[in-house]
Symmetry: C2
Subunit: 148 residues, 2 copies
């Protein structure tokens, strides 16, 4: 199966202009052209685009993704480099998940805070609680927020 830029964009759920922009930025060296200059996407290209999508979700900038693609085009001699890059991004994502976990804990605390405030009619109640009055799981969070 082959696809136009519009069809591939639809498959991926992005705007066609995004794919043209990626091509312009050198991320899509694998995309071929028909005799009259129209981009011809193959099924295999879908997989490349999914990998680009994946790396983008790790927060990697497009120019670094371009380097990864460039390496992949080089062939088997760059396997080690590519492996190293993947391992590095994996660690970056693990770190991001830990940070998000902490953010979630803060929001859990805030949710409890506003539920308590709502029930009491005023934020003064949760705000002025001592650490001992605070449910155990929120103590660490409040210590962090208040630098206590």
């Amino acid at each position: 199966m082959v696809y136009t830029v519009g069809e591939m964009a639809k498959l991926l759920g992005v705007a066609p202009s995004t794919l043209r922009y990626y091509d312009q930025e050198g991320l899509l060296p694998f995309v071929e052209r028909s005799s009259n200059g129209i981009r011809v996407f193959q099924d295999a290209d879908y997989e490349w685009l999914q990998v680009i999508e994946c790396l983008k979700k790790t927060g990697m900038p497009l120019k670094d993704i371009r380097e990864f693609i460039r390496m992949a085009m080089q062939g088997d001699e760059t396997i080690d480099e590519r492996l190293e890059l993947i391992v590095r991004q994996r660690e970056a994502v693990r770190k991001q998940m830990e940070e998000l976990q902490q953010t979630l804990e803060t929001l859990d605390f805030k949710q409890w805070y506003y539920e308590t405030a709502r029930d009491a009619g005023t934020t003064a109640v949760p705000r002025n609680m001592t650490l001992e009055e605070l449910p155990q799981q929120y103590r660490e969070v409040r210590r962090r927020l208040r630098r206590e």
Copy 2:
């Protein structure tokens, strides 16, 4: 304790210009000024800034954070609204974590892929494996990547 913009920035690990920018954007209505116009940060302001930081990490744009701060300044009548916003952000973060989890699984697959390629000397080996030859935990990932 009171702090200048530079001291507070240091505590938070951000640039002073960032705090000035936030102030300009209306995110810091709680920060007072000394007689000669210098910003005076209080300990309580540190907590506000941590909350701003937390909301920023959820991906909330600054103008929405400003609205949250504005609500908080309104007082107890906005408790319900603020609770709702927190719950919404909490759900957004849970979703982000799920997406990151999927990204991580893709990277796990790619790591295995390149380790296998390295050991074989060519990416042709992992690439041409049938679904049955593939370790079980990677089958779903490859199906997604290849739209199989």
